[in-house]
């Protein structure tokens, strides 16, 4: 699936849930299933700024594709990381860098999340794209 197909799938999934508490239930579930970052990567370097909870993100390049793992001390945050990873992980740095992430707004996450959390989500997205750009530069050189 392309990044956009994955986004559309998520939007469809979320649209089936009417209550926000149900959507959260789903996010929390995703959080619990998050492919956890290996302990040695939970370093300050991998900490993302701008979240009320702590968020680590780690990247690996395999066969020209980027794979993300992450963790947080807050479960909902983990769920959000999980959402981001499910959309972006396994794509080329180029696709990731060029991607237009519209599912956050479409789901209504941005307006429903608390501001610090939604800022955190945006920081996360920014960080993932930065990694992608960095790898692109590396691969080109």
């Amino acid at each position: 699936m392309t990044i956009n197909e994955k986004q559309d799938e998520l939007i469809a999934d979320f649209s089936m849930m009417e209550e926000w508490m149900d959507k959260y239930e789903y996010i929390i579930q995703l959080g619990k299933e998050l492919p956890l970052i290996a302990e040695q990567y939970k370093t300050d370097d991998n900490l993302i700024k701008g979240c009320q909870s702590r968020v680590w993100l780690h990247t690996e390049l395999k066969d020209g594709k980027l794979f993300f793992t992450g963790d947080s001390d807050a479960v909902i945050t983990k769920g959000l990381i999980s959402l981001m990873i499910s959309v972006l992980s396994g794509h080329t740095p180029k696709d990731i860098a060029a991607s237009d992430i519209y599912f956050i707004d479409a789901i209504g996450l941005r307006s429903h999340l608390s501001p610090t959390r939604s800022n955190g989500l945006l920081s996360m997205l920014k960080q993932m794209k930065l990694y992608a750009v960095a790898y692109m530069a590396k691969m080109e050189s």
């Binding site: 508490m21 239930e25 929390i28 909870s53 702590r54 807050a74 909902i76 945050t77 608390s114 959390r117």
Partner: protein, 416 residues
Amino acid sequence: MDNVSTLAAPALDVARIRKDFPLLQQATVYGLPLVYFDNGATTQKPQVVLDTLEQYYTGYNSNVHRGVHHLSQKATDAYEEARKTAAAYINAQYSHEVIFTKGTTDSINLVASSFGRTFLQAGDVVLISAMEHHSNIVPWQMICEEKGAELKVIPINERGELLMDEFSRLLNERVKIVAVTYVSNTMGTVNPVKDIITQAHARNIPVLLDAAQAIQHITIDVQDLQPDFLAFSGHKIYGPTGIGVLYGKEAWLNKMPPYQGGGDMIKTVTFAKTIYNELPYKFEAGTPDVSGAIGLAAALNYLQQVGLEKIQQYEEQLIEYALQALQQVPGIRFIGQAAHRSGAISFLVDDIHPYDLGELLDKQGIAVRTGHHCTEPLMDLFKIPGTVRASLSFYNTFEEVDKLVAAVNRAAAMLR
């Protein structure tokens, strides 16, 4: 469980009180009626405060002092009347002991800077407590750094109470001022400030009380309590944002240099020499927040009318009820369990992140605050990332407490 508080008749007719607060009447969150338990952060405003602002802006908005015209006179009268109201509210001896500021933070910065610049020297000590809000830590850190003075901290026990023995031990001739909070914004602890002041005064050390979380819950009589300085914020006592009070004893204020320079705080200005005005103007540079002061006075008058004693009684019933009801939540842990408490209840459930819990309470229409509540050193002490804090006001109901408990249970079940 037989709950005394629920059996006793509530000290207030809260349904009637709530009609005075338009936001409580009309605000909904995600389609649910709002349950507002973030009163420690800021309080809602009674209609009379909004009416007072409106009357000011549509009737006699004008710059105060030195005005020759009618509106200016009306505005000046109202502004100075507001000062008298604030002074009377805390039973200050003179109304010129009340300085209008931006809020508690501004008030404390004024004292830290002006007192500190005059009375602090290298080697001196400023004594605060382990439960202070950043606003009663950082200003002192800044002036201590500038002056080479030292910041010392009164420790607390695991229930969140000051260790008064340690306080007595820390009091020595190096201490130049004691700055403590009356009520902890995170734990609700009511500190034994009378004892603190008595001990400090026995050594001629002045005391600043951070009353940001006390003034709206506890009757304060500065002539009885005898603090040298007392700071509070209008927005936390049902008044407008952007206004606050610094009370200072005349004798201290007269000894302190002005904090800011500008209009109104001077008597005469030449480029060579400037003569400062008398109290309270010396400390009120620039055009004051006239509407804010008048709005604050309206809030204070409103509280007097409802009855401070009744408010206090009812809030005590409510907090006791809330503590007992929350205790039933499986896995709950209170941060702060002082014998004497007021306002805020901080808790955690199992190892659920407070931020997650707060988010799911919000989605159920319940406004609480999560995080360190600007008391990071306290969080470090308890080795926690933060708490969920429900902070109560006299317009909250027992039913709202029940909703809170149900919502905490539901959220915890999802997050566990």
